[in-house]
Amino acid sequence: MSGPSIYQPTNRAMQWFEKRLPIGGLVHSSFVVYPVPRNLNYWWTFGGILSFMLGVQIITGIVLAMHYTPHVDLAFKSVEMIMRDVNYGWLLRYLHANGAAMFFLAVYIHMFRGMYYGSYKEPREVLWILGVIIYLLMMATGFMGYVLVWGQMSFWAATVITNLFSAIPGVGDSIVTWLWGGYAVGNPTLNRFYSLHYLLPFVIAGVVVLHVWALHVAGQNNPAGIDPKSDKDTVAFTPYATIKDAFGLACFMILFAWLVFYIPNYLVHADNYIPANPAVTPPEIVPEWYYLPFYAILRSIPNKLLGVCALFGSIGILAFLPWLDTSPVKSGRYRPIFRQFFWLFVIACIGLGWLGTKQPEGIYVILARILTFYYFAFFIIMLPLLGIFEKTRPVPNSISESVLGGKA
């Protein structure tokens, strides 16, 4: 999308540097003059918000790691000491814990936005798949971070999730032992989770660079789902997208600050303030809210192996979305039937999240099965068929027509 750099530094030192490493030109062409569709709405500010949240998590995480002790006898205590004795330790820890939740909230909005406006379609398939990889890495990182607290819920979540791998026929138990580094979740498990929890965010940052790179090759999708055709269809990244992103981010931060300063334990299960105790199983083992829909899918299927397959399949299927959706029209705006199935899909995901908190018995199992069926049917049945049978509404000729035409 971006042509050759027109960046001409006036400062002599900058000119000297630019000749040797044109990093100023890279920033200039990618984040200043880079053309963005003029019709982007606020759902498009979540990309910037996500980059910001990754930064928050890495910075708070690095400082927390300076005070944390990854040992079964000391982990819980060291977290409490951070909360009590480290200067602003309570702030760092509440930022990091609630930051994870806000990170997931933002990524879900980002993903639903991509689905609604068909952002995964040609030529953005690789961009989308890189996003799915980031999401998977986020899930692994978030899970392992939750375990580090070493409360009751941490310990038992680690036990339940690692045990999923025992469903693999033949080698399952060996794999679980290998994952644990022993015959139960213990000190080796905690140590490796700590190591990986520190490593994976930087892997995420690397894939985010690829994600942004792929974005800047294909250019941004937009609410109309059509490519910019002329300069009239785009505006410069700075100041237009920059200021809009900044405003969106500030609104997001208000919500974040509300959680951190006023209801920091709202999303935390009370049991995680009880130190991990392998001898006492909590009455209910519930994952963090952002995993609940997948937990409900897992438990809705009576067979353990099939349940685990459904769990991983429900995430893996996202990678195939560009080819499952057969419709030539990108934006849900012009797809009246798709739009309804889409919102039903959103409701199904929220419903599954609610069912993830319920014991799998009685009506809850039935509801979870219906919603699990719908989750997969949306991808495997609705999307392929809609491309064939749906009568789409006419797509505007250009972005500027879609923006200004409606106003006239």
Binding site: R38, K77, E80, M81, M83, R84, W90, L91, Y94, V235, P239, Y240, I243, K244, A246, F247, A250, C251, M253, I254, A257, V260, F261, Y262, I263, P264, N265, Y266, A270, D271, Y273, I274, P275, P283, P336, I337, Q340, W343, L344, I347, G351, W354, I363, L367, K391, V403
Partner: protein, 280 residues
């Protein structure tokens, strides 16, 4: 034709939504075994909440005279009693509290000894280990450092949604206050197992701890009523402070952050409007 289809879809959606909400209504309110604890008016609730120093001091007196016979509170030091936003003791007072305790230590020859406590010492544990702690009542009494955050009760839908807006975060102390004053004679049809104690608010009602407080058991110097109702609130408030000693600082900083963020957001909104007015 497309419009017709559209209408049909909408009908299907509405029907599905109705079925869902009906199912939610018809579902039994999951056999609520124990009543929800009554809401206490806490001084530390809400965006400007602060601990009531006198209440924390009374709560500490109860902890010292009653709870600490069985419950440890190992995350806290005596010096914490003088921390800002806490019970409001002076450092000399905290030091004096510490000096009343005997701390097990080793002397300079490596021999076990007992010495007077210092401000930097953690509150001593009443039992040598969890096995010894479990010997008395069958279950080891939980450590009290994080207890007020480790206890809660289910609020259920839709209340948990409203809680995010009303900042109701005091489920822990509400439960503890209700629990301490919730001892009763079991109903006739309730079979209380051997060694158990009936408590209205404890999940399953059968709790291992005997009723810890009686009216008039702890003497207050500030004229507060010496009743179980008052004791249970005071000790719950004290435990909330023990679990969340930086609450006052958090809420104060939060308010400053909010003022900053709201001004920033307002400025960004008008800047954005100005910048974009050139395009539209």
């Amino acid at each position: 034709m497309a419009k017709n289809k559209n209408l049909n879809m909408q009908r299907i959606l509405i029907a599905l939504a109705l079925t869902g909400s009906l199912a939610a209504l018809v579902m039994p309110a999951s056999a609520e075994e124990q009543p929800s604890p009554p809401r206490v008016k806490w001084s530390f609730a809400g965006p400007f909440g602060k601990y009531d120093e006198a209440q924390l001091q009374r709560g500490f007196k109860i902890y010292k005279e009653v709870c600490s016979n069985c419950h440890s509170m190992e995350m806290l030091t005596f010096g914490n009693l003088a921390d800002a936003g806490g019970p409001g003791y002076s450092e000399a007072q905290a030091e004096a509290v510490a000096a009343d305790y005997k701390i097990k230590d080793l002397d300079d020859k490596g021999q076990p000894t007992e010495r007077a406590g210092r401000a930097a010492d953690h509150f001593p544990t009443p039992f040598a280990n969890t096995a010894a702690a479990a010997a008395t009542y069958g279950v080891a009494p939980p450590d009290m450092s994080t207890l007020a955050k480790a206890r809660s009760y289910s609020r259920g839908f839709p209340w948990f949604v409203f809680d995010a807006f009303t900042q109701y975060q005091e489920q822990g102390p509400d439960y503890i206050a209700a629990y301490i004053s919730g001892y009763k004679d079991p109903p006739k049809d309730f079979k209380l197992p051997e060694g158990g104690h009936y408590n209205e608010y404890f999940p399953g009602h059968n709790t291992a701890m005997p009723q810890p407080l009686q009216d008039g058991q702890v003497t207050y110097d500030d004229g507060a009523p010496q009743t179980i109702a008052q004791y249970s609130k005071d000790v719950a408030a004290f435990l909330m402070w023990a679990a969340e000693p930086r609450l006052v600082q958090r809420k104060r900083l939060g308010f400053q952050v909010f003022i900053f963020l709201i001004v920033l957001t307002g400025l960004l909104y008008f800047t954005k409007k100005k910048v974009w007015s050139a395009v539209y």
